[in-house]
């Protein structure tokens, strides 16, 4: 009796098409590109700010564009779904909280994250005069 184990090949470049779970994982991971993008945009804003009032106003008017508005809107939704909401959903796994004998349900920790997020966002909007 001879053994000849068969190794099923796995594509290193397209393995994630194998299931919906894997595809959603990839969609989640590439939000890093959004984070990087908005970091770069913000740094450019800092550059304009450091250049004085004229530099800043030039930057502000350069932002005005319905095309950009559409892009920002799409990226906001994508970011919320695949970054913020996913991050909050995974947070309880990394930080179990045990009170007495029972572990705090994951839901409680998720809600706490949402609470913090809403609070911080409202505070920032208030400070910036958006609301």
């Amino acid at each position: 009796m001879s053994r000849r184990p068969y190794i099923r090949p796995v594509s290193k470049t397209t393995w994630y098409f194998r299931s919906g779970r894997y595809k959603r994982y990839i969609l989640r991971e590439i939000t890093c590109l959004l984070v990087g993008l908005y970091c770069v945009l913000t740094i450019r804003a800092l550059a304009a700010l450091a250049a004085g009032p004229e530099g800043w106003n030039v930057f502000l008017s350069a932002q005005r564009s319905p095309g950009l508005a559409g892009l920002h809107a799409v990226m906001l939704v994508y970011f919320l779904v695949y970054m913020t909401f996913d991050w909050f959903k995974l947070a309880p796994k990394a930080m179990p909280v045990q009170l007495g004998e029972k572990k705090l349900p994951d839901r409680a920790i998720v809600i706490a994250h949402y609470g913090l997020w809403i609070l911080v966002s409202l505070m920032l909007f208030r400070l910036l005069g958006v609301i």
Partner: protein, 113 residues
Amino acid sequence: MAIAKKAFVWGLFAAGGTVAAIVFPVLIVLFLLLSLGRVPEGLQFGSIHAFAQSWVGKSGLFLVLSLSLWHSAHRLRTVFHDFGVRSDALVAKAVYLAALVGTLITALFLFKM
């Protein structure tokens, strides 16, 4: 036994991810408002410049930007790996260098405010 260097970078990644998850929606909304021609009071030169000059503002902006840059860099390294790019050492050097450069540039501009 010495803990792998990845522990340090992962720590930055986790901190950066939490910060980005919470703060970036607001940031994107601000860019959205600007693109619609709406400039909130807080983004008029006087207010935002004063904020960026204050120590609270400088440290807040630096922390958010640098942690987010490191988060993005580390995750991008994983993305390359997941897409089949095997030269991890090279990718790591490239993304962390980019994050370092971004961090330094951020510090520079905040210093010059």
